[in-house]
């Protein structure tokens, strides 16, 4: 889309040093760059700029000129990545305008972090070329094209020892999932009242109940929140007692109705 005055981004390792471009605007095709670091590195290497003394203002101007050309056609995410870099460049430029101490340590240079990232990125481009060579070499070897049909795995034929209890025990242990993607129909709302009756039913069986048991394994936020509200409500009504040994330790609910809950360990042995 844009005329190039410069050889295309040759593999960065080759680092073909071209003559300094200087004044001329620097045209590059943005499409070929994997991201802002790639583009920035190209601008620097193609113009044989000392990476430890990047002329920030000039580079920033070139960078903006290149991305400005294509910004409208870019996907939002990609545009954001380039704009983020542009913002960083402008910030560095501003910092450089501030009065500097006479003997500036290299580490304190506002450009230091950018240089570190560029070198790190360039380093991984070297790894990319190592991998590319290995891939090409491997691609010259061919596996057997056809292998005989093999008998199907046994599956059905072998009997499986698995009880429903074992399965349900595993189901209870499922850790809290991330925000659900396509779990259950959204119509299924969780009410505090449901959780209260769950707690009441559990206390018919035992004198103490693990808080986690109230919402696992479907530990969606809604379940956790409802369980928490239910527990707090019941505690407020003096129906239960909530205990936690220390922060992040398991939370236990004790029933108060039987009166046996005063010790830390319920009555039953």
């Amino acid at each position: 889309m844009i005329v190039e005055t410069q050889a295309p981004a040759t593999p960065v390792t080759a680092r073909s040093r071209s003559p300094i471009i200087g004044v001329e605007p620097f045209f590059v095709e943005l499409d070929r760059f994997r991201g802002p670091l790639d583009l920035l590195l190209h601008l620097i290497r193609a113009q044989d700029i000392d990476i430890f003394d990047i002329p920030i203002a000039g580079i920033t101007r070139q960078f903006l000129a290149v991305i400005n050309e294509d910004l409208d056609n870019m996907q939002l995410e990609r545009a954001g990545e380039f704009l983020e870099m542009a913002a960083s460049l402008i910030r560095i430029k501003a910092q450089l305008l501030l009065p500097q101490p006479e003997q500036l340590d290299w580490q304190e240079d506002p450009r230091a972090e950018l240089v570190r990232r560029l070198l790190e990125y360039e380093h991984f481009q070297d790894v990319v070329h190592v991998l590319q060579r290995a891939e090409a070499q491997r691609g010259r070897h061919f596996a057997k094209g056809y292998v005989e049909q093999r008998p199907a795995p046994m599956g059905m034929r072998q009997s499986l020892e698995l009880t429903l209890v074992e399965f349900l025990q595993a189901a209870v242990r499922i850790p809290e999932p991330p925000p659900p993607v396509h779990v259950r129909p959204p119509s299924q709302t969780v009410t505090v009242q449901e959780k209260i009756s769950l707690i009441q039913r559990l206390f018919e069986k035992a004198k103490r109940v693990s808080f986690k048991r109230l919402f696992g394994p479907w530990g969606t936020r809604a379940h956790a929140a409802a369980a928490l509200l239910a527990s707090l409500e019941m505690a407020k009504q003096q129906l239960i007692r909530i205990e936690q040994a220390k922060p992040f330790a398991p939370i236990w609910l004790f029933t108060k109705s039987t009166g046996g809950a005063d010790g830390s360990d319920g009555g039953k042995e």
Binding site: F142, A143, K144, G145, Y146, E148, R150, P151, P153, M154, G155, M156, Q158, S159, L160, E161, L162, L164, V165, E166, F167, L168, Q169, A170, A171, V172, R173, I174, P175, P177, P178, P180, V181, H182, V183, R184, E194, L198, R201, L202, K205, A206, K207, R208, V209, S210, R213, L214, G216, P217, W218, H223, W252, D265, G266, K268
Partner: protein, 196 residues
Amino acid sequence: MRPDQIVEATLFASQTPLTASEIARADEELAVSDVTEAIQVLREAYEAEDRAFQIYELGDGYQVLTRPEFAPYLEKFDSVPRPPYLSAAALETLAIVVYRQPIGRIEIEEVRGVGASSVLRTLVDWELTEVVGRGEGLGRPLLYGTTSRFLDHFGLKDLSELPPPEELPVVLSELQEALEFDGAAKSQSDDLDEEG
């Protein structure tokens, strides 16, 4: 490169049987008669060296196959003996699939925090889970669900017979109690026990 080497490489790497004239396309200097001659050379060499494979004629094409007398070994190789029960990881993955199906591998890994591909393969091999579709989005990931064998195994008519989420702790306690009542008073397994 000798003609028989080129023919050997071609027959080895091809997915389908190739005719002599197809094989000859590998190299301009290769005539069809060179190919049939090379195949003869190779066959005799494989025979003389007791190779486990041979070149067979299928239709009007040629293909390298392992010799039939090795079939029993390959069969044995495939039928890896495995214990008749599921590992804890497989069981956990099964539970996730059951209650959150259809679900992709990545989502399972997000729940479990470790890779799930080999465990999923085990469950598919057991015919407890199967691919039920493809998800939206990049790469259209495979989605897994449970099979009829899963239902059969527990004698369920459909998935709704499994305890719904909220009931699970209660159902488990009841089941556990019933079992204890049944058998000797064995000490409660720690994952069920509300007593600590």
